[in-house]
Structures are given as C-alpha cells and as structure tokens.
C-alpha cells in the first residue's frame, strides 16, 4: 500500500496507523507535517514525525493503544490555536489531530448539559444550543476556531469568564483515554462526586494526563438582558483606574476588557473595524448582563458614571445587538489583526492583581520603549490577565533577541507585582523557562509526580509544562537527602 502522494513507501508505523484510520488520514510527507509545526504562537516550531487524524472515538482508542504497544510518545492537538506551543510534537513523536472528532453527541436541555467530542468547535456548540436559550459560557477570543478538547486541556478563559468562570467551572464529566490506552471516567454529569475533584485536576493539564474522548459540559442560560458599554480614555493609567473603580464598587461585569491604542488601530484597519476611537489611548469594553432588564440598565448606568468619574472621555452604549456584536468581534479578533503591525508576534499571558494594573502597564510600556519595541495590549482587565503583544520581524536575529529579553523582563515585572506567568494560555513550551521563577523544585517535582499518576511513562505531550532540568535537580536533591 502507498500513501496518496508519498514518493517513498510509508514507514511501518504509518502503515499500521493507516490500517486503523485509512491512508488518507495519515500524513507522513514533510510538506504535510510542516503545516503542523506551530500553533497560534509561531515563535516555536516542531515538526512531528507523523500526523494521524482519527475520525471516530474507536479509531482514536485504537491509535493510542497501538502507540502504547510500540512505546511511541504522542501529542493530542485540536485546532492548533493555542498560544504556548503546547500542541507541538517534535522528533520521534506522533501528532494525533482531533478535528475530525467533531460530533455533538447529545444536548440535554432539561439538565442543561451537552456531551461532545473533543474536536467540536467552541462557537459551534453555542450556535447549536442557542435556539434552546442556552450557551456554552467560556468564550476564548479564538472561539470561532478553537475546540472544546483544547479548551479543556488549557482550561481556557475568555472575556465572559470574569462573571461565569473559566472552562474548569463548566466541565461536568470527562471520558479520558490514558497513555496506556485505558479509558477512565472522571466526574459525573449529575454534578458533585465524592473524593478529590479529578475533573478539576484534568482540566488545564495541557495534554499531559491523557486525551479527553467525551466531554460533558455545563450549558448556561443565555442572559435575558445585556448592556455593552465602550468607554475611551486619553491615558492608559486612567483606563486602569476605571477598571479598579468598577471592581471596588462591588460590581461584577459579565466582561471587562481593555485595548490600547496600537491594538485599537490594528482592529480599526481590519474587516472587524468596530468604531473604536482611533485617537484614544485605551478603550474599555464592559458588559453587564442579567435576568432583569431594569437591574441591568441601572448597573450599566452606575458603571458609566464610575468610568466618567475615573476620566473616560466618552462612554457609549451599544444601541443594537448588531452593534454589540461588532464591538465584541473587534475585541476577539484583535490578536489576529496584529499581523497588520509586523510580520511576527509574541503574545504574553501574565496575571497581576487588579490593583497593580496601572503601574504594571506603565512599566511594560517603559520596557518596550527601552528595547525599542512595539507593544500592544489587549486583555481581560477585570481579571488582571494581561496580554502584551510584541510585534517584530523575526528575520532580524538581533531584534529577536531583544524581544526575548523584553518578554522576560515583562514577566519578571508581573511576578514582582504579585502576579503569575499564565492566566489562560498555559505553560506549554513557551513558559517552561518561567516556571522556576514561581515554583520551587519541590513544587515542580510534585507536579511531575501527579502527572505520573496518569501517565507513568510521560508519553503524552512529553517535554511540556514542567521543566525537566528542574525536576532532575529536585530528583537528585531527593536522593541526596
């Protein structure tokens, strides 16, 4: 048998995989494999040895069992929109792409849950449940492309997670395929189970604990009343103070997002132009929702007052659903619009205490200026979850070094302010180097030990999340004592 276009005969492993999924769903040619070398963060590149795309749960199980029998490491991947290099597979590793496992198995309206395969696209799940008055609340900016399986692996956030909680708060149960090919059920669709929260352990494990084959998600009623406000500021600092004012007043908006000028301009130049004022130093996008229209209006008015007091130049309310949709599309596609600034981009994902936002932002712009770099900020201000984007041209090696140095400095600033190294993008490959900054060797060793409960041979998504050298240090320490 020959793969469709390969010049040489397929490897024995490719042949065995093809026997399970069909020859056209195994990719062995270099040209096909290089398209999987990156995720949404193109600063990391790894070309997998083989790519396999199972089309059913049974095929997936058979693939993993085959790889277990042959002791071959593998990496599960969804749509590849992650931003930490988490879904990359290097040499000697098979990439299992789950996009074809995209069936919504069941929607249970009465119990407000849905059972989905890992490759279901986030926005498609919400589209399917909306006619029932329900939606899947976590809404990462990439929701039109990213998959629920990937959301589970990364414990994805999104603008509306400020009020509704992140992915972990919306996963009821999981069927998980472990690296050895065995299936385990975690959690219960009925709600709480006794014992430790294993669903909570699995969600956010970045593909280190196994592959979710069936995911039971919580569905949330679509709010009856919504108000969306756009406030613009002439300085970043006052915008940051606006955020603090809202939080200090005890108001929990559904979403509270900030974008700075360079980001505003990139969006306004794109097809997703939302009418953000181009001359503003920053805009805040605030959404208030609830069941009672009067209460929502009253709270939105209170927010508008707070923002004006904090120094907003104007506060505008979306007059229609179409306008609201435009305001949100602009925000959610902002990351993609950064290509208008420069051909390469790194995005950071740090969290700082909300009260520290104005100071940290100022420091970040200072760092960028010192290194002569363009930094754009678009982020979940309500959570203090920053996403500084640095635009640059990677063909200039000196520039690339400056970007690396500035990134590291930005990260140390956030940590020094009492923050941490990732809010929602995960550690993956990209933040491995920062892990020792916030965890001591013993904590990292504990993480490794937990991972080995699920995957003793460390065959799923090897080399991610926990820096190996740190663990080795820890292991030698443990032996010495």
């Amino acid at each position: 048998m020959r793969l469709l276009y390969s010049m040489t005969a397929p490897s024995p492993l490719a042949r065995d995989l093809a026997a399970i999924v069909g020859a056209k769903h195994v990719r062995e040619a270099l040209a096909a494999r290089v398209t999987y070398a990156m995720d949404g963060l193109p600063t990391h590149r790894r070309v997998p040895d083989l790519v396999v795309l199972p089309g059913t749960r049974e095929e997936l199980i058979a693939v993993v069992r085959l790889l277990a029998a042959l002791d071959v490491p593998f990496v599960p991947r969804g749509a590849g929109t992650g931003l930490s290099g988490g879904a990359l597979a290097g040499e000697g590793t098979v990439l299992i792409v789950l996009t074809r496992l995209n069936r919504i198995v069941r929607i249970d309206r009465a119990n407000r849950l849905a059972v989905v395969e890992p490759g279901v696209v986030n926005a498609k799940l919400t589209a399917a449940t909306k006619p029932l008055g329900l939606h899947y609340a976590p809404d990462p900016s990439s929701q039109t492309a990213c998959t629920i399986g990937g959301n589970v692996a990364e414990n994805a956030g999104g603008p509306h997670c400020l009020k509704y909680g992140v992915t972990a708060n919306h996963i009821l149960a999981l069927e998980v395929l472990l690296a050895d090919g065995s299936l385990v059920e975690l959690g219960s669709p009925g709600g709480e189970t006794w014992g430790p929260d294993l669903v909570g352990v699995f969600v956010g494990s970045e593909g280190n604990f196994g592959v979710a084959t069936r995911i039971t998600v919580r569905l949330t009623p679509v709010p009856r009343a919504v108000r969306t406000l756009l406030a613009d500021f002439t300085s970043i600092r006052t915008a940051g103070e606006g955020v603090s004012a809202i939080i200090a007043a005890g108001i929990v908006p559904a979403a509270l997002e900030m974008m700075d000028q360079s980001c505003i301009r990139a969006v306004e130049d794109s097809v997703y132009a939302a009418g953000y004022p181009r001359d503003a130093a920053a805009v805040l996008l605030v959404e208030i929702d609830g069941r009672n229209a009067d209460a929502v209006v009253a709270e939105a008015d209170a927010v508008a007052d707070l923002l004006r007091t904090a120094g907003a130049r104007t506060v505008r309310t979306a007059a229609s659903e179409a306008e609201r949709e435009r305001l949100w599309q602009g925000r959610k596609k902002a990351f993609g619009a950064m290509g208008r600034l420069s051909r390469d981009l790194v995005v950071q994902d740090a969290v700082v205490p909300r009260s520290a936002l104005p100071d940290v932002l100022e420091t970040i712009y200072g760092i960028a200026q010192r290194y002569g770099l363009v930094v754009s900020n678009v982020f979940h201000a309500g959570d203090g979850n920053l996403h500084p984007n640095i635009s640059f041209d990677a063909t200039d090696p000196a520039l690339k070094q400056r970007v690396e140095a500035a990134s590291a400095e930005i990260m140390s600033t956030c940590i020094a302010a009492g923050g941490t190294i990732t809010g929602e993008h995960g550690v993956g490959l990209d933040k491995l180097r920062y892990m020792p900054l916030i965890f001591d060797a013993e904590s990292l060793g504990a993480m490794q030990a937990l991972r080995r409960v699920f995957d003793p041979e460390e065959r799923v998504n090897p080399g991610k999340v926990v820096p190996v050298h740190a663990c080795r240090e820890w292991a030698s320490l443990a032996r010495a004592s």
């Binding site: 990719r27 398209t35 097809v271």
Partner: protein, 413 residues
C-alpha cells in the same frame, strides 16, 4: 512573473499572517478533511516554505495540498490581518506550474472550453446533446454522470423574448460574453441585456473579446491569463462605459486586471467592470424596477468570487426584493463554497464532491424551488449535485428570475 511591491511575485501578500487560525472554519476543504494541510493557515505555511526554498515546487505533497485549494478566498474576508491569500496562491501555483507543467486534463479542458475556434464546436455539440435530454437522464455522482448533470444544469428557461426598446436616453454598457457563459449560458446574456434594458441601459456588443483568463490564472498559467487580459483590454477600448459581467469568476479576475497586468490601462479597465447585479441594484442600492410577482421559494447561494473576491453581497438581494411574493429562504452555510471552483471540479473530483455534499444535504432539507447563483461553474456544480441527489430544485442565475418577473409584468410586450 507578477511583480509585487517588493518584487516577491505575490508572496509578500502572505506576510501579514500571524497564524491565529481564525480562517480555519471559513475554509471548505478544512471543514471537509479537518487537516491543517488543507487549511488556509497550513497552505500559507507551504507557500512561505516554497518562497524560502525550504520546500521545492516539485514536492508532490506540497503540490497535492495546494492543488486541493478551491481558491474560493473564503478565508480572506474573515482574516483580521488582511492576508492576501489569493494573490499568494496564484504566485505559488505559477511556480508549481513551471516546475511540473499543467496536467494534461487541465490543458485539454482549457483548450476545449476557452480557445475560440475549438470551443465553438465543443459548445455547439454540447448544446445539441443537451437538447436531446439525455444528459439530464444520466445525471449522477460518478465522474461522467456528474459531468452530464453539469451540462444539464446549463439549460435555460423555455421562453425566448426579444427585448423591447429601452428607455431614452439610455446609458451605454458593454457586455462581456466570456467562454463557458457564451457557449452554454447565452440565455443568461439575453436576460442580462433585457433586464438592463428595462432599467435604462443600452447594452452594446464588443468585437474581439476573448475568455477572461481566470481558468488559466487559477491553473498557474499567469502568462496565458495576461495575454488574454491584454486582448480584452484592447477590445473594450478606453471609453468609460461600464463593462457588465454576469459570471462572478470572470468579474473577479477582470476587476483585478490592473494587478495582473501591472499597468494603469488594466487598472482603468478593472474600475469599469461591474457585476450585472451591481448595475441593476444601482449605485444608491435602490434596486431595479419592480417586476410581476413570482410565487416561489428561492435560496440564494452567493458565488465565492462574487462575495469574497468582489465583495458584492447586497446587490443580488436587491434583485430578489424587486420581485413581489418571491420568498428568500435562508440555507445554513449558503456562503460556503460549492466545490466548483472552475476546473477544480474536474481536476479534484473527490475534494470537490466532499465540499459539495454538505451543501446539497442542506438544500435537500430546506427544499427551495430555485437556487439562485451568479456564476456558471456554481450553476453547473450545484445543479449536477441536486440532480445526482434526486432533488427537484433548479439552479438559475438571479437575472433570469428578474427577467421572468419582467416578462410576466408585460415589460417585453
């Protein structure tokens, strides 16, 4: 080779891609296979590797995945960074065509369908065969039977009408006739002339015009496309009359003649090109003069080269709005490609049918009486798919419907 701003032959159009992946779900081939190598983002990686020299144009896997791109450009309007995918694709395809040549089947098809002398005979035979009714009966999913369905789908309405004199003083417009459109869809040209006549246009003929070159450009034969473009630019002269096109694929390329030829004359030509629905809808989007009621359910299927490549979304809807009782039914995913894509349906039948299948299934569920679409390839592809699936829905060009409504209103008497 096409000279870009930085002299990189079109590849510079891809620089803005930051790999966000927001294009994935807008790509019909990615939806069909779930394979990154069949996605816009993956193909951009291939094109970049080709430009860098990391992969060669003769790499069979690279060509395989780039060949499988429909060129529908559905990824462009969703791209936040405005990546010029279509321009990059043409550049890459030209490199591939130079490296391995164009397939014999593509050559044969181009020769039979676009060369003036040969195609006249081919279309004459095709029309004669179509009139026997045999193609309609043979329509099916197999390669040959699908082609039969495509031919059957080119059949126009039965009515033959001479246009009444136009309102005076008429505005002049010049009709672009094209190759397939002229050979198999001359009834759409007639409807174009008549409906524009009712709306105050005197449509003139232009001698010496040839195929627009779109099929050549998509196959990577940019030089041949340029040669055809030059003939058309010369034939249509330097006047300022609008050039009316009723085939979305032709219109898309002709609007880009300036870019293709890299000269101002081409630019001016491109600026004159209008889709027939744009002229009928008018600059103020008021829509054409109203027709008699047609009591039918119509699903509008926007051709990719009209919606994505030309950005013409509203004008066709203004045509339907001018027909009382005509009810537009919304079909989910109507804006997704049908899989026709010029010669694609012939060269990549497996992917083409996979992309078409989803559309046919949704049309079966919504069951409109007519699918309206303004591109010959789409008309044939969807028509053949419907015939193969045994769905009674007919496929027609939007101007044909307006033409029927005008005839019923007595505007041609």
């Amino acid at each position: 080779m096409r000279e870009g701003k930085e002299g990189r032959g079109g590849f510079e159009g891809l620089d803005a891609c930051v790999h966000c992946g927001f294009c994935l779900q807008a790509c019909p081939t990615f939806l069909a296979t779930g394979d990154e190598a069949d996605s816009p983002r993956g193909r951009i990686e291939l094109m970049r590797a080709l430009e860098r020299g990391d992969l060669t144009a003769s790499d069979p896997a690279l060509a395989y995945h780039l060949d499988r791109c429909l060129g529908c450009r559905g990824c462009e309007p969703v791209c936040p960074s405005g990546v010029q995918y279509g321009i990059g694709l043409e550049a890459a395809r030209q490199r591939i065509a130079e490296a391995r040549g164009v397939s014999r089947l593509a050559r044969l098809a181009l020769w039979a369908l676009t060369s003036p002398k040969v195609s006249r005979v081919v279309y004459w035979f095709a029309r004669g065969f179509r009139a026997t009714g045999i193609p309609r009966r043979l329509a099916g999913w197999g390669r040959l039977r699908f082609a039969m369905g495509m031919l059957a789908a080119t059949q126009g309405g039965e009515m033959r009408t001479k246009a009444r004199k136009v309102l005076s003083p008429p505005s002049p417009a010049l009709l672009f006739r094209g190759c397939v459109q002229q050979g198999l869809f001359s009834h759409v040209h007639d409807a174009t002339v008549r409906t524009l006549g009712v709306n105050g246009y005197q449509v003139g003929e232009v001698k010496g015009q040839v195929c627009c070159g779109a099929l050549h450009a998509h196959a990577g034969l940019l030089d041949e496309a340029r040669a055809l473009a030059r003939v058309n630019v010369a034939a249509f002269g330097e006047g300022d009359e609008p050039i009316v096109v009723n085939s979305a694929g032709c219109g898309a390329l002709m609007k880009e003649y300036g870019h293709l030829l890299c000269h101002e004359q081409g630019e001016r030509f491109g600026a004159r090109v209008r889709d027939v629905t744009e002229l009928l809808a008018g600059d103020a989007m008021r829509g054409p003069i109203g027709g008699a009621p047609l009591d039918m359910h119509v699903a509008y299927d926007p051709p990719c080269h009209l919606l994505h490549a030309q950005g013409v979304a509203v004008p066709p809807l203004r045509l339907f709005a001018a027909i009382p009782l005509l009810e537009l039914v919304s079909v989910p995913g109507a804006a997704e490609c049908c899989g026709s894509a010029g010669l694609f349906t012939l060269l990549e039948p497996e992917m083409s049918r996979a992309v078409l299948a989803a559309k046919i299934e949704r049309l079966r569920e919504t069951a409109p009486q007519v699918v309206a679409t303004g591109n010959p390839g789409c008309q044939m592809q969807i028509g053949a798919g419907l015939a193969a699936a045994g769905v009674a829905t007919r496929v027609r060009h939007p101007v044909e419907l307006l033409d029927d409504a005008y005839r019923a209103a007595g505007r041609y008497e």
